[in-house]
């Protein structure tokens, strides 16, 4: 993995992760808010694959850009049917749904399962979100 967009979850370079492709293909609804997903970049689909965190599922209402740095507005929009809202963990160095809007589910490749290299920072990624009713 390369790039600063997922700091501090992933380092800028030199890490190897395992991706779970099968579960998403068999159960497309298994994607939850807070999951780390791997998807084709909507703006450079031929060359680039991005890894981001899921913020919103279809039907959710999300704030376009809480930081106000990328998108000119901080309005709230509804994520359309069949799309998800994704965002990098490092908000100031990430090109994500704030710039290109909701991402169609058809671009998702899979979910990040575990980091296997370097060995001393081996991690299995669990969903960190808790739901408040």
């Amino acid at each position: 993995m390369t790039g600063p967009s997922m700091l501090p979850t992933f380092a800028i370079e030199g890490e190897i992760v395992i991706e779970d492709v099968i579960t998403y293909r068999l159960f497309p609804d298994s994607i939850k808010r807070g999951d780390l997903v791997v998807a084709k970049s909507p703006v450079e689909p031929d060359t680039t694959i991005v890894c981001k965190r899921v913020i919103g599922l279809p039907g959710d209402i999300v704030c376009v850009d809480p930081t106000g740095e990328y998108a000119p507005t901080s309005e709230y929009i509804k994520v359309p049917e069949g799309h998800i809202w994704i965002s990098g963990d490092n908000a100031s160095f990430s090109r994500d749904s704030r710039t290109y809007g909701p991402v169609p589910k058809g671009l998702i490749i899979g979910r990040v399962l575990a980091r296997v290299w370097p060995l001393r920072s081996f991690t299995i990624f669990r969903n960190p979100t808790t739901t408040i009713e």
Partner: protein, 201 residues
């Protein structure tokens, strides 16, 4: 060790199955890159599934042209995942590529759209019966799965799709009219988008 190998090679099972095992990867690759599919629905009428035909069209798609060579052109017929429902496949024609300006048709709220980077504008040939970019806007190229090469079945319509519609005079006039209408709505951009500097991901 060596004698064991040669004795395996002499067995009946080995001689019978080895050619199949040998060709398996090649067959798998070809089967993955080129697919036959039957078209359902009316959105590409009259190019595909015209009312005059008794059969549903079976067509050959090439994944190779999309996945390996990334060969997208205006007027190509492509198979893509619906942006509204990822389990649904659509067949549409590429009207505009990234950077082009398109004059949209009624259901779309804005008159003119500049296609964003990495996106295409797709439309069915009969846009009034088709759920296309005029409903859901420009779609990311990543959703495109494969590109139509030729119609395989029925036999009287065998051949590349656009050529088949041009075989009789009326079909040719209609196709010419549709193509003119399509082209008149697109303002092709001159800027090479791929050479622009990239922000971080």
């Amino acid at each position: 060790m060596f004698s064991l190998l040669t004795s395996i090679r002499r067995t009946w099972l080995y001689r019978k199955t080895w050619p199949y095992i040998y060709w398996l990867p090649t067959v798998y690759l070809i089967a993955d890159f080129f697919q036959l599919k039957t078209i359902n629905g009316r959105s590409m009428q009259p190019t595909l599934n015209p009312d005059s035909s008794r059969w549903k069209d079976t067509v050959l798609f090439s994944k190779y042209a999309i996945r390996v060579t990334h060969d997208y052109r205006r007027d190509d017929i492509v198979l893509l995942r619906s942006p509204e429902d990822p389990n649904h496949l659509l067949i549409k024609r590429i009207v505009a590529l990234e950077g082009d300006t398109v004059q949209t048709l009624p259901p779309y709220p804005i008159r003119e759209v500049v296609i964003p980077k990495g996106h295409v504008w797709v439309e069915g040939d009969e846009h009034f019966v088709s759920d296309d970019s005029n409903h859901f806007g420009p779609v990311s190229r990543g959703l495109i799965e494969s590109k139509l090469l030729a119609i395989i079945w029925p036999p009287e319509r065998f051949g590349p799709a656009d050529e088949v519609t041009r075989r009789d005079k009326k079909g040719m006039e209609n196709e010419e009219r549709r193509r003119k209408f399509r082209r008149s709505r697109v303002n092709i951009s001159e800027v090479d988008q791929l050479s622009q500097p990239q922000p971080p991901n």
